[in-house]
Structures are given as structure tokens and as C-alpha cells.
Symmetry: C2
Subunit: 373 residues, 2 copies
């Protein structure tokens, strides 16, 4: 979720942030000294002490591993992606910001090494993912509170587990929670090649929904179109093609979408609104264009369009951990049936983080950078 | 509802318009000849044959009165206001547009003179108002289909009856249908001195809701503030005052609004969004500034603000005539209890329509022009 804006400084959100962090950051980086060491109680982590350009502010540091308390879980991280929201959080442009210094990364999968005496939900060997944003997944090992973690089945691919907790959850909830869609209905989205976008295409196809997928024009556009169609996209069009009169032909064979998913803002979102069926909803979950959503008064009044936003962190706050676990298990079913695969990934060792960070902020990079530990 | 935009030319809305008009316009102006006459079968009406500036395109014409068929009602119009939406419709900027030539006016009250043999809902002497927009109320008499009319009790003031069918209905539905408000909750609105705005103030006060009312600065602003406070407004602030840090003081004593009602668009609506409580809804029902609604991506995602639109014509299409009658009776209860009064009105004889049209398009005119027949 590529989001700009200064809202993160709002008082109410600072409180949200504090609450989320107090739960998941209990043993945050003991940053008193960062010297390299062979001490097994010391582990490596990608730490930032200031908000700014990730290439400049993120450093590989040694952190001290905390002792495992009764309700704690010692986790060896296996893989953790670099998502747009991780970058935004480091830049300081996100709805919740950790206390600095902080370990980067909000998503990833780890394996349980040891558990405290009163831990019942997971056992050594289990795979776990963060229960909430802000955990700091870009590190080799950590001791977390049990309630900061959610167990995931081990019979899914590692890359799927590492990329399960944010993007597919966001995609699934947006498809389910705003419009009552039935098989045959259509959905339009922009940023269709993003992690969320690819999950939307696959989950929608599995649910019998037809997708119109907008992407930015680029070299090798046909290759991208083919790859999204292979995932189940019915139509893939560039932003420019979306504005052409020929778009009408698409809607001769497919119903006008009742749901639009917007990760861009600006002109791109104006175009999504224009394509929506009367009464339809546009859900904004990102703002890659760093421009606001602009809606004509006429579309709101006479076409009864609805503009909403979605933020998985808020959804989790409004739902119980069991509901989040249920969501994860639902997505695992899609994965086991071959209906949901991880986005194309480039695995990069944690130590080569600079290369991975650089690649993840380049435009038109179609593969997700995944740090491996 | 002061609305701009080209949506009225959209195909789906043209259909809405056609349906609305085929129901309410059955005996539309028989415009074959417009010569003045003393013939009792001929009546006077304000007719426009082209879209454009009301002062230029509206003319007083003689129309022929149709015979009263079995399901028809002969109505003598008593009073009909000039609303912003009437002006927009004449200008051609509205979500439904009548076939031209058309009689102006969407609201008003008339008295039944005679009824057809199978009419059961109203009888001679009853007061009636239009069931839908597009009836053409600016005329001395007309024969309408029974289903184009709704009876209203005669124990409310004439001006209240003449201004009941659009603005108070819009105000009440917007207060009831978007957020579940409880006594003590607050509502913020702009264009607070409009017909809808005054109805919002009064109905909200009757429901125990606290209102923050934004108005444009003007000469004699204190007089306007006093008059809105007399109606029940808790706070009245100018657009400029709304942007000042002192606004924070208001929210020490009043909860942040969960509902914002926007009839302006542009900067004014941006400011309403900024004042909304997290999770709150802004309902747009007009666009006086002729500028779109602009929402930052952050407000949508991290503050979970919802942007909606309201159009009474659509509400009526989605509800039964009995539900509209129930709404009218609910509003009559407010009127009888002294909780809802008509806006300050200037009565102008139909023949002096040019003066009334001119006054109704002037800025900062605080009294509504009502044509009397």
C-alpha cells in the first residue's frame, strides 16, 4: 500500500500506532550497542533510526536477542518481502509509524525455535506470520510475544506463506466487504500488477468474478498482459487504453463493474469512477500517484457512487484474532487448490538488502523482492 | 440542489428521466398554440422551450387544460417555490431533464378541483404535492394523473406545504440513512442557509442532534448567524472561520461530527472532510461551487471516511409511494409541533415571475421566492 500524506501525524492514529506497537514490539531492538559479534544471543536486523530514503537510512545491525519469557516465542525468520507499505513506513508516510529506531518489514514467515512455559498456540517447528503491522520482520531471529504471531500451515509454499499476511488478505477483504458480488459480476482495478493486484485477479477468478485490470504502459507490455491473463485476468488494459472509446466494446461482453479497487489516486481513480456501474463502490487502498481522489458531484449524486477506503490494520483492529486466523486459513485453501500463488519473487539474502531495497523502489519491476535469512 | 456536470446526458439517467416524466407529465403542455385566451379550458404556465438562463428562456404562456380522465385529478395550484434544482433543470444541468417545451417547477402545493371516476386517494378540496420531480408546478392549474400526486394534510401552513416535498425530505433522509446518530451526536453542514440547510438545522435540533453550520461570509453575517441559531443551530461559522485553529475549541464541547452534509463541493467539502470523526460519512447533495469533491487518499484509508451522494429522486425510485407518504406525514408532525417551519419566503404572483427568477439567482438572498397563483 503506497500511501502518502501527513495523516500519520494525527493524534488518533498516533494512538492506534502506539497500541499496535505495544502489542507487537514488546522486545524491540535493544539498541544500546550495535557492534558485530559472534555471540549467539545477538542477531542481525535491518534497522532505521530516522525516517527517510530507505537506501540511506536502513542499516544492517546486530541486535541482542531477548530472553524467552513465559508468553514469548523465539522465532527464526525464514523469508520476508519488501512491500510498498514497508517503504512508506520507513519514509514516514504511513498511517502508523513505529518508535525509532525500528526494524523494517511488516510481513514474512518464521519458524518457531522455542516457546515460553505458558505458550499454547504454537510449538517449535511451526510456521508463524505477524498478527499485525509493525513487527519488524527483516531480521534473522527475534523473541516475540505469542499474541504478536499467527500460526500458518506448513503445507503451502514458503513464498506464499511469506507474502500471505498483507496483500492477499487485503485483496480478499476488499472483494468481500464492500459490494455483494455474485459469479459473473465484474471488478475493475488499477495497479493490477502489484501484490494486491495479482491476488485480486486470482481470488476474483476463483470466485467466478471477471476482472478488468488497468496497468501503466511500459516496455514489454504484452508480456505483462499475458502474465496477468495467465493468472486469470479477463481484460488487461493500460491507463491510456482505458480512456479510449474502444473500452465500450469490453462492456458489451461483460457487465459494468460494481466494485473498483484503487491503489493509485489522481486521474487513474477518476477513470475507475467513470467506468463504475450506478450505485457502485470504489475502494481506495493506496495512492501511488501521490494525488488525491477527485469525484465529480454529479457522479456522487446522480450515479450514487460510493467512495470508501480500506486498511488491513484497521480491519484487524475491528475484528478478533480468530477472525484473522480464519481469513488466513481461507486463503491457504485457495493456495492449496492452486488458485492463489505468490507474486513472482526475487529472493535476496538479508545481507544484500541494499540491492533488494533499490530494486523494490524502481518503477516497472515486476518481481517482488523477498529477503531470505 | 445546485448541481453541475454533464451526467444528465448519460444514457442510464436519460432512462430514469424518461420514466419519471412518463409518469408525471402525462398531460404536459399542449404547446401547439400559445395565444392568450379567456377560454376557461386554458391556463397560464411558466414554460421554457430551450435550456439556458432562466431569465431568458422562461416565458408565461397559455396552455390548454386537458379533459379529466378516469384516473386524473384537476388541480388548482396555490403556491410553488423556486428552488436551486429548478434553476439547474432549466439550465440543463440536472440529473433528469424534461422533454422540451416544459413547465418549470418541481415543488409546490395545489388544491384538488375535480377528480376522475376511478380516483380514490384524493377528493375535491384536498391539498396535493408532486409525487416526483418534473411535474411542472409553475402554473395556475393542470390535470395530472392521480399517481403523480401525494395528498398532504391541510392543517399545516400553506408555505410549509409548498416547500415540503423536496428540501425537508432531503434533510430528513440524509440525517437518517447514512450514519446511526444518537441524541448528543453532532452533524456538520455547509450551505446551511439553504432550504435543505435550514431543514437540517431544525430536524436535527428536534432529534437532539447538535449542528455545526457553515455559511459564506456576507454583509450582516451576525444577523444570519442569529437567525440560524433561532432555528436551533448550535454553531454557525463562516467558511473562513472553519479553517482557523479556534475551531478546535468547538470540539472541546461537542463531539466530532460523524456526518457531514455537503451542498458546495471544492474547498468547502475538503474542509468538512477534515472535521469529520474517523469512520464518518460525508453526503454530497449539491455542488454550488461547481467544483468536484477532493479526498486525500490518507483520509479514505487511515481515517476510513466514507463519501456518498444523495438524490431524493433516486430515493423515491428505490422506495414505494407509501414510504414517501409516510415521510411526508413524519415531516408534518415536526411542523405541527412547531419544530419545522418553512424557510423565510417572499411570495410573488406568478405573473411577476421575472422578478422572482432574478431574486432567486442573486447571491446571498436569504428568502425563498414562492410563486402564488
Amino acid at each position: 500500500m503506497w500511501v502518502y500524506g501527513a495523516l500519520c501525524r494525527a493524534r488518533s492514529l498516533a494512538r492506534v500506532q502506539q497500541e499496535l506497537f505495544s502489542a507487537s514490539w514488546r522486545r524491540g531492538p535493544a539498541c544500546s550497542s550495535y557492534s558485530a559479534s559472534d555471540d549467539p544471543s545477538r542477531v542481525q536486523a535491518l534497522v532505521y533510526g530516522l525516517h527517510g530514503d530507505p537506501a540511506k537510512v536502513v542499516e544492517l545491525k546486530d541486535l541482542e536477542l531477548a530472553a524467552v519469557g513465559g508468553s514469548d516465542v523465539h522465532v527464526k525468520m525464514l523469508a520476508a518481502p519488501i512491500n510498498p507499505s514497508d517503504i512508506n513506513m520507513i519514509q514516514g508516510n504511513y498511517g502508523l509509524l513505529p518508535k525509532l529506531p525500528a526494524v523494517g518489514g511488516n510481513e514474512g514467515v518464521g519458524q518457531v525455535v522455542a516457546v515460553g512455559s505458558i505458550v499454547t498456540g504454537v510449538k517449535p517447528g511451526d510456521w508463524v506470520i505477524p498478527a499485525n503491522a509493525g513487527l519488524g520482520t527483516w531480521r534473522t531471529e527475534a523473541v516475540f510475544s505469542e499474541d504478536a504471531l499467527i500460526g500458518v500451515p506448513r503445507d503451502i509454499p514458503l513464498q506464499s506463506a511469506a507474502t500471505l499476511g498483507v496483500n492477499p488478505c487485503t485483496a480478499y477483504r476488499m472483494l468481500m466487504d464492500f459490494e455483494q458480488l455474485r459469479p459473473g459480476d465484474s471488478v475493475i482495478q488499477n495497479a493490477s500488477n502489484s501484490g494486491v493486484g495479482q491476488a485480486v485477479i486470482q481470488i476474483a477468478a476463483a470466485l467466478g468474478l471477471r476482472t478488468i485490470n488497468v496497468v501503466r504502459d511500459r516496455p514489454d507490455i504484452q508480456k505483462l498482459k499475458d502474465s496477468l491473463k495467465n493468472l486469470g485476468a479477463e481484460h488487461v488494459v493500460t491507463e491510456e487504453e482505458l480512456r479510449k472509446p474502444e473500452m465500450k466494446n469490453i462492456f458489451k461482453a461483460i457487465p459494468q463493474p460494481r466494485l473498483a479497487l484503487n491503489c493509485v489516486g489522481g486521474k487513474s481513480s477518476t477513470e475507475l469512477l467513470r467506468q463504475l456501474a450506478p450505485g457502485g463502490t470504489m475502494v481506495t487502498y493506496g495512492g501511488m500517484a501521490k494525488q488525491p481522489v477527485i469525484a465529480s458531484v454529479s457522479l456522487l449524486i446522480f450515479k450514487d457512487l460510493k467512495l470508501r477506503g480500506f486498511w488491513l490494520s484497521q480491519w484487524k483492529k475491528d475484528h478478533s484474532p480468530d477472525q484473522f486466523k480464519e481469513l488466513i486459513l481461507t486463503l491457504c485453501d485457495f493456495i492449496r487448490r492452486g488458485q492463489l500463488t505468490a507474486p513472482a519473487c526475487s529472493e535476496v539474502p538479508l545481507q544484500d538488502y541494499q540491492r533488494a531495497l533499490e530494486a523494490s523502489t524502481k518503477p516497472f519491476v515486476s518481481s517482488k523482492q523477498i529477503l531470505t535469512m
